[in-house]
Amino acid sequence: MFEASSREIRDQKLQAAWRRAFLFVTILLILPVGVILWILAMKGGPALSWAFFTDWPRDGMTAGGIFPALIGTLWLVGVALVASVPVGVAAAVYLSEYAPDNALTRLINLAIINLAGVPSIVHALFGVGAFVLFFNMGTSILAASLTLAVMTLPVVIVSTRESLQAVPRAFREACWSLGATRWQTIRHVVLPNSGSGILTGIILEVSRTVGETAPIMFTGAAFFLPILPSGVGDQTMAMSLHLFVVATQVPGVPVELPFGVALVLVGMVLALNAISIVFRTRLRRRKKW
């Protein structure tokens, strides 16, 4: 009585075949990532050691470690964050909570989307023109970080605005009905309930900033420096540029060195992404709506 008809059986087989096809395509997607990581680990793994992180490059950059590049990247990313996060979050709060729906607001939104699509080399030229030359910062951490900040600002604004708008209208209405001002609503209800989204956006910004080369190349990163930067006015080495240099600019580099640098760089990005995922799931578990 309840046996499947031959037609149902055929449909089920067809569905199973489609499911396998989709699974196959999905696997194709992860394959390149897996292969890249595997090659990096095989070829760069031997270069890794504690000393690799704490030593300076030696023998015309054909040996030694990556210490100054690592520190330099921390400088660049840190200063870029200090510049972009407050501006980005403030802009997102304005756009999401205060801005009237008019031509100016739409123009700003359009500009943000377009800014996100500008190639990084163009940002680099902008950085040279604006920060290095016009504002007379010279090639320095400050100029390079501000260039990175401008480049990642749209990401911060868009992701922050989206997390703010994900806060249910009912919460805002609850605040309004208690006579809270707009700012009190933002401060006590909207921001605390969008923190995880904002944080995720910021971490993704960092992971993008870590790997960028073009924007810092002409604005503040150097091939080699014998000393660490002492402030934001100095130039610095950086991981991404260092990889470019040891991979293409210096003769006689043993093969595991550039692969080692690449492995550390990719490791940093993956670690940051992992942190952002952990953050998000933990904060998401805490809230229930």
Binding site: P100, D101, A170, F171, E173, A174, C175, W176, S177, L178, G179, A180, T181, R182, Q184, H188, V189, N193, K287, K288, W289
Partner: protein
């Protein structure tokens, strides 16, 4: 004018180009429950949300006419929405506790407005008094730090009423406060409202004829943005003046 009275005079409201209220008039006596009835979309919520002016936060809303609360014209430009929100509390259709603990929900409005007057060390007393007033204290006194969202819907709605009380409002606006609740919970909230009569002036929007009849002193019937008829509930349900009112009460409208 009576303290606590709401009086709406020739009030109109537009959402953009759409006129949602047209020359509405309403008198609501102090300490009484006035129910607002009418078919869906007739502007009940809009009228209610005009009394504490939260409609205006939408940005594209225009109004004309006056609304007096406690004898003061609240549409005047000098009126502070913060002070208004303090005097006029609102409860929504779906219980909307903030994603905080029970205690923090009660203290939220109080911290914004009244803590300066009452003193910081009053917290525990404020929480207890508010929860006692909505008959919730005995049920939640041992879990004040639990998330409010874990309460039952009835308890959540009572909490939403309770959190208005510490700032000492005079007027409570209720937008279908029972429509998300089952009959037993509805009855509990209704009898709570009936018990709060006298102390607060309550404006109650409802779709439920029986509720309007049971739980209000006066009743106002709206249709398509206009006030059709208003008067004592007992009279209106027995002998409505207008034909539309009679049709609606007898269930001939949607």
């Amino acid at each position: 004018m009576d303290r606590g009275a709401i009086s709406v005079r020739d009030f109109s409201l537009w959402y953009g180009n759409f006129q949602a209220l047209e020359d509405v008039n309403l008198e609501s006596a102090a300490g009484k429950i006035t129910s607002l009835i009418g078919p869906s979309g007739c502007g009940k919520s809009t009228l209610l949300r005009s009394v504490n002016r939260i409609n205006e936060r939408l940005g594209y809303v225009r109004t004309s006419g006056d609304i007096n609360v406690l004898g003061h014209n609240i549409t005047a430009p000098s009126v502070s929405k913060v002070q208004l929100g303090r005097r006029v509390g609102m409860v929504f259709q779906r219980p909307n506790p903030l994603p905080l603990s029970i205690r923090e929900n009660i203290l939220f409005g109080w911290k914004l407005h009244a803590r300066g007057d009452d003193g910081v060390d009053m917290e525990a007393e404020v929480v207890e008094r508010a929860l006692q007033e909505v008959l919730l204290w005995d049920r939640v006194k041992d879990r004040l730090n639990d998330a409010a969202i874990n309460l039952s819907l009835e308890e959540q709605q009572k909490l939403c009423i309770a959190r208005l009380l510490p700032v000492k409002p005079d007027v409570l606006l209720m937008d279908e406060p029972c429509s998300a609740l089952d009959p037993v919970a509805t009855e509990a909230v209704e009898s709570l409202l009936w018990g709060m009569r006298g102390k607060y002036t309550i404006l109650l929007v409802t779709h439920n004829m029986a509720q309007a009849r049971r739980a209000s002193d006066d009743c106002a019937f709206m249709l398509m943005g206009k006030m059709v008829e208003a008067g004592p509930t007992a009279e209106m349900f027995v002998s409505p003046v207008k034909q539309e009112t009679a049709d609606y009460i007898e269930g001939r409208y949607g």
